[in-house]
């Protein structure tokens, strides 16, 4: 639905008025339409604000007076107060500081997983959808195999194997290895989405035109087809980030993910588990963080889905003209 050349208003009486022409051009600009629709979704806007606060707070976690990993036995297990807003843990470490540093880990795992899943899924889907035939069958069979895996159980298995020893390029349970483990089991939705989009788009006249003008396959895939299938990919990427955060915290909660003393929301919860009925703040705050980040991401995804909905985009254009 996005208009390739937005400077040419379609079906609109321009009347040669430059101001009007400017306004319609702005109104038809796909970016403007998206932004306008996205801003109208209250949940998405609140989600955006909350997620931004979480990201900024995690980035500036180093401003805290308290060291992230230094025990202070005189201050252990203090309940939340002005000096320690989220209390302290069994080693006297400030929970707020650890939760914020944990946010760095959990949120970056979310981003890296989406990056890995996109890097695997988009090329597979594009090749399958664009070329079709035998290649399509092979790649989709591979996708089916991965979709039939009990993903989270495999993540647990791989987490357990990785924490066992050192691999050539994956060392221990770092942010990268955990993201890798989750990422290689998360690309299938992208492959299917991209393939479906390519199957319809590759038949369109403008693609035939590009081909007859001598564009290479790579150029057609990257410059002509991919940009027009970006909507569902972005929506799915947002939601995938939420799943990735849940999986990382779940994995760390079970002890196969990020290993202490490096904090992540999951292993903070796992540490709290022993004595949380006596010291509930240890369990409450990391969980609230997981909850807030996932609900924000889900609302943002919902808003983006509405914004990219072609029927609603037409409505918005209609309001202008």
């Amino acid at each position: 639905m996005t208009n390739q050349d937005s400077n040419i208003p379609l079906n609109i009486d321009v009347r040669g008025d430059p101001e009007y022409r400017q306004k319609t051009a702005e109104a038809l600009d796909p970016g403007n339409i998206l932004l306008k629709r996205f801003r109208r979704h209250p949940g998405a806007m609140i989600g955006m604000i909350v997620l931004s606060i979480l990201i900024v707070a995690s980035l500036f976690a180093f401003l805290s007076h308290y060291p992230v990993d230094q025990s202070d036995m005189s201050n252990r297990l203090q309940s939340p107060s002005i000096t320690h807003i989220m209390g302290t843990d069994a080693l006297g470490r400030d929970m707020l500081t650890r939760v914020l540093y944990g946010g760095r880990i959990s949120l970056s795992v979310g981003l890296i997983v989406v990056g890995i899943a996109l890097a695997i899924g988009v090329p597979i889907g594009a090749l399958a959808g664009y070329y079709g035939g035998q290649l399509d069958t092979t790649l989709m069979r591979l996708t089916d195999v991965f979709l039939s895996l009990p993903a989270f159980l495999v993540v647990i298995l791989l987490g357990a194997i990785i924490s066992e020893g050192t691999f050539p390029f994956l060392k221990g349970n770092s942010v990268w290895t955990i993201s890798f483990v989750i990422g290689i089991l998360s690309w299938m939705t992208f492959a299917r989405l991209v393939r479906a989009a390519f199957l319809t788009i590759r038949e369109l006249d403008y693609v035939t035109a590009a081909r007859s003008l001598g564009s290479s396959d790579l150029r057609i895939i990257v410059k002509h087809v991919l940009p027009n299938s970006i909507g569902p990919i972005i929506v799915e990427a947002t939601l995938e980030m939420g799943y990735a955060i849940v999986q990382e915290s779940g994995l760390s909660f079970l002890g196969f993910g990020i290993q202490p003393p490096t904090p992540s929301w999951g292993n903070l919860l796992s540490n709290a588990q022993e004595n949380f009925t006596k010291y509930p703040w240890l369990a409450i705050f990391p969980g609230i963080m997981i909850f807030l980040s996932i609900i924000s991401v889900n609302y943002i995804g919902d808003g983006l889905r509405d914004a990219f909905d072609p029927y609603k985009v037409l409505e918005t254009v209609g309001e202008y003209t």
Binding site: G43, R141, D144, V145, L147, S148, L149, P150, F152, L153, V154, I156, L157, L158, G159, A160, I161, E164, G165, T166, F167, G242, V246, S249, G250, F253, L254, G255, F256, L269, A272, Q273, F276, T277, P280, A283, I284, P286, G287, I290, F291, I294, I295, N298, Y299
Partner: protein
């Protein structure tokens, strides 16, 4: 239809075969092979480890190990005492004949371990799931028929929140509130038990139920959120359709229009979705059973991962994958069966 199902069944077998290779490969990714962790945790001397390796057949190349795992080794000569010379006939039957090998930890047949735990998971998860559906369907219907009412707004907000609540955190909070904070007003004991299947030796219904409440509530919440949202949106798509207007115009009471004509169509995608979701409901058991000390498959898998009990892990993974493929097949067939517009060639 019959040809379609047959073709899908053949595909399923191929898929399972590929999956078994993939999973077998993953387990053998562990540096030093599957026995490495065993050696570390039990301080087995290197010579002893080499003997064990030969006894388990782990000295053979991976493809050979895979074939043995699949078809057994009772048709070939094996090294039973681990001295490097083949001296006997193998006893393994292979997973194709239902032999998943022995657990590293308990030295019991893997299938025995699974059979012991499986009924407990079925018990917990089927109750969870039935309760989830029993609540989600009315919530979804009310939300859709009264779109944008106060009830709908509250329900949709809660369903968004419910889907964002991780089970492992919700479980801890449940224990905090109902075990640590709230007390039984008569006895002063915790209101609800924090884990286990029962505390009485004999069967006491109230005791069983009180042990079910927290794990069931924790497990059901996310599914209630998910299904009520799904049913709401699929009903909202159907409610403005012409055939319902016709039904109303013919004088059919609103109740009949809703329950007989609208709901039966809205339920088609829901039923398919439920078939697709079934395996994941059981996977959720990993967290629920770990937190609430429930002796089921989920906790068995978690324990096996801690012990690096690879035969057990592999068996659960293969069974899980088969379960997922089967539920996909059932979902497709159900969809074709329920919706006369869908026809497979």
């Amino acid at each position: 239809m019959a040809t379609y199902v047959t073709r899908r069944l053949i595909q399923t077998i191929g898929l399972l075969f590929l999956l078994s290779i993939l999973l077998f490969g993953m387990v053998n990714l562990a540096p030093g092979g599957p026995l490495a962790g065993q050696g570390q945790s039990r301080h087995i001397a290197p010579e002893k480890a080499a003997i064990l390796k030969r006894q388990f057949g782990l000295d053979k190349p991976l493809p050979v190990q895979y074939v043995i795992w699949l078809t057994g080794n009772d048709w070939m000569k094996v090294d039973t005492n681990g001295d490097g010379v083949p001296d006997g006939i193998g006893t393994r039957k292979g997973i194709l004949r239902g032999d998943f090998g022995f657990s590293f930890r308990t030295r019991q047949p893997v299938l025995n371990e699974i059979n012991l735990r499986f009924p407990n998971t079925i018990y917990l998860m089927s109750i969870t799931f039935i309760i989830a559906l029993a609540l989600a369907i009315p919530i979804g219907i009310l939300s859709a028929t009264r779109q944008y009412s106060i009830f709908d707004i509250i329900a949709t907000t809660f369903s968004f929140a419910g889907q964002a609540l991780p089970e492992f955190w919700l479980g801890l909070i449940m224990i905090l509130v109902f075990y640590a904070w709230l007390k039984n007003p008569f006895t002063g004991a915790p209101l609800l038990p924090s884990g286990g299947m029962s505390s009485a030796d004999s069967f006491v219904l109230s005791d069983r139920i009180s042990h079910l409440i927290l794990p069931v509530a924790t497990g059901a919440l996310g599914w209630i959120a998910w299904y009520s949202r799904f049913l709401r949106s699929s009903l909202l798509e159907i409610l403005p359709l012409d055939y319902l207007r016709t039904a109303r115009a013919k004088g059919l009471p609103q109740r009949l229009v809703l329950y007989r004509h609208a709901l039966s169509n809205a339920m088609i995608p829901l039923v398919t979705l439920i078939a697709l979701d079934l395996p994941y409901i059981f996977m959720g058991a990993v967290f629920i059973e770990t937190i609430f000390a429930w002796p089921g498959m989920g906790r068995l898998y978690y324990q096996a991962a801690i012990d690096r009990d690879y035969p057990l892990l592999l068996a659960v993974l293969i069974i899980g994958a088969a379960f997922i493929i089967l539920s996909n097949l059932i979902a497709d067939v159900l969809y074709a069966f329920l919706d006369p517009r869908v026809r497979y060639e």
